[in-house]
């Protein structure tokens, strides 16, 4: 690899250099998020047809599923930055992991909240020990544990590295947790339909979900970059 190009990429590992770039990207993504959300909400609430079985309530899916996707995606990205931080010992990587956690936890909460409200009219109870909801709950605990560990350690370097290791251990465990919970759920609930599955995926429903997913993604990038700018200012 050309040493000049390697140097050029690692330039952004410096918080000072990354700071203005983060600001520009955040602004762009915030605008994109607003537009995508408007589009997604229009498709989801106006264009998509009423469902034959669930009526209007299924429209919660346009928030629930994208939020669940983001909660899992953000955790993986967080663990990725944690791994990069431990491997290359770059401060900014740890800051990125720290910045991602609150947004990830928020989307996990949203997924749980909307899942619960979807369960009430369709299944009669606010909480269902559905495989996905239970896994989401455990994911929330993993996020909170990450933030709690970092908050409990005074030395910033030890806090960064300890929470980074925890994130990686958690990431390795997430598939194991997911599959064991899914297996546990099928054993205990038998042939019941998962509440996270929409009855039939009309093209408009899929479009709405994708638009909202992209909107959440753009929002996450904007929020995380603004937060990492705050962290840079707090620490440098």
């Amino acid at each position: 690899m050309n040493p000049n190009s390697t140097l050029r990429w690692f330039r952004f590992a410096s918080p000072q250099t990354f700071f203005p770039l983060a600001g520009t990207i955040a602004l762009g993504c915030a605008a994109a998020a607003a537009l995508l959300a408007l589009g997604g909400l229009y498709v989801g609430l106006v264009v998509a047809p009423t469902d034959a079985q669930q009526g209007e309530v299924y429209r919660i899916i346009f928030i629930h599923v994208p939020a669940a996707w983001m909660s899992m995606f953000i955790y993986v990205v967080m663990a990725g930055w944690a791994a990069i931080g431990l491997a290359f010992n770059t401060r900014l990587s740890f800051m990125m992991a720290q910045a991602l956690a609150p947004t990830g936890a928020l989307f996990t909460f949203i997924a749980l909240w909307t899942g619960s409200l979807w369960g009430r009219p369709t299944w009669g109870t606010y909480w269902v020990w559905d495989a996905r909801l239970t896994s989401e709950l455990i994911l929330l605990f993993l996020y909170l544990g990450f933030m709690a560990l970092h908050a409990a350690i005074d030395d910033p370097r030890r806090a960064d590295r300890a929470s980074a290791l925890l994130a990686i251990v958690g990431a390795v465990n997430v598939p194991i947790i997911y599959y064991s919970v899914q297996w546990w759920n099928t054993l205990h609930q038998g042939a019941s339909v998962s509440i996270t599955r929409a009855p039939s995926m009309a093209a408009t429903m899929l479009t709405g979900m994708l638009l909202m997913a992209l909107a959440f993604w753009a929002y996450s990038i904007a929020a995380v970059l603004v937060r990492v700018r705050c962290i840079i200012r707090e620490r440098e």
Binding site: F141, L149, R158, V181
Partner: protein, 222 residues
């Protein structure tokens, strides 16, 4: 390397023997927690029989977690841990040895006591074997994964509760498989799937945890 491991296990067992009350307290906790559930849910025999695998397993989880604080605390306090970090023996081997000693003292006794609890809950006698086997396979995994958490929270204020928050989500697959094995057997089916998966988790934990524990110790001690 094996000699180092043997010395370490021997040393930890000796230390545990001198502090017998610490060990006994964790085991007593196991019994007390298991005794609380009937007081809470009522003494209806069918209900107790149905929940007994889960209750015993949750009690095992909590007891194992409580005893994790002891794993590194004493050595950290008197400086032995630093010596281990600086020493010639690979830190992974040290971690593995300490986990083994910890399991022999905190996990293995649970396997022996569990049938007594099962008796209290009127679990079918034929299931005692599966229960013991599931605990035999699962408790080492709890020790290994828990040790990662213990190493990360070394010397922190509020360490015990924080350790619980960190480690309990990671314990969930072991709980599901362990309790599930007994319930499966109770339903008249073969628990082979769960037990084999538990074995797989044990192999995975034994292979990767020492590395993670060593990394966590280095992070906490530098």
């Amino acid at each position: 390397m094996l000699a180092v491991a043997r010395t370490l296990v021997h040393r930890d067992l000796l230390l545990a023997l001198r502090r017998r009350s610490d060990v006994a307290t964790a085991l007593l906790f196991f019994v007390i927690v298991a005794s609380l559930f009937p007081l809470g849910v009522g003494a209806e025999p069918n209900l107790l029989r149905a929940i007994s695998p889960g209750v015993i397993w949750v009690a095992a989880l909590l007891s194992s977690m409580l005893s994790l604080g002891r794993l590194f605390a004493a050595d950290h306090a008197d400086g032995t841990l630093e010596q281990m970090l600086l020493g010639a023996a690979p830190l992974g081997v040290v971690a593995m040895a300490k986990c083994l000693a910890h399991w022999l003292v905190s996990g293995l006794p649970l396997v022996a006591i569990a049938p007594l609890i099962a008796l209290q809950y009127d679990l079918a006698p034929g299931l005692y074997g599966v229960l013991a086997l599931s605990l035999l396979l699962g408790t080492p995994v709890l020790s290994l994964i828990g040790a990662i958490g213990a190493a990360l929270t070394l010397g922190l204020r509020g360490g015990g509760v924080l350790l619980a928050l960190l480690v309990l989500p990671l314990y969930v697959p072991v709980l599901i498989l362990g309790a599930g094995a007994v319930e499966m057997a109770g339903a008249g089916l073969q628990p082979d799937g769960q037990l084999l998966l538990l074995g797989a988790l044990l192999v995975l934990a034994a292979a990767f945890s020492p590395w993670a524990i060593a990394a966590a110790l280095r992070i906490s001690m530098e």
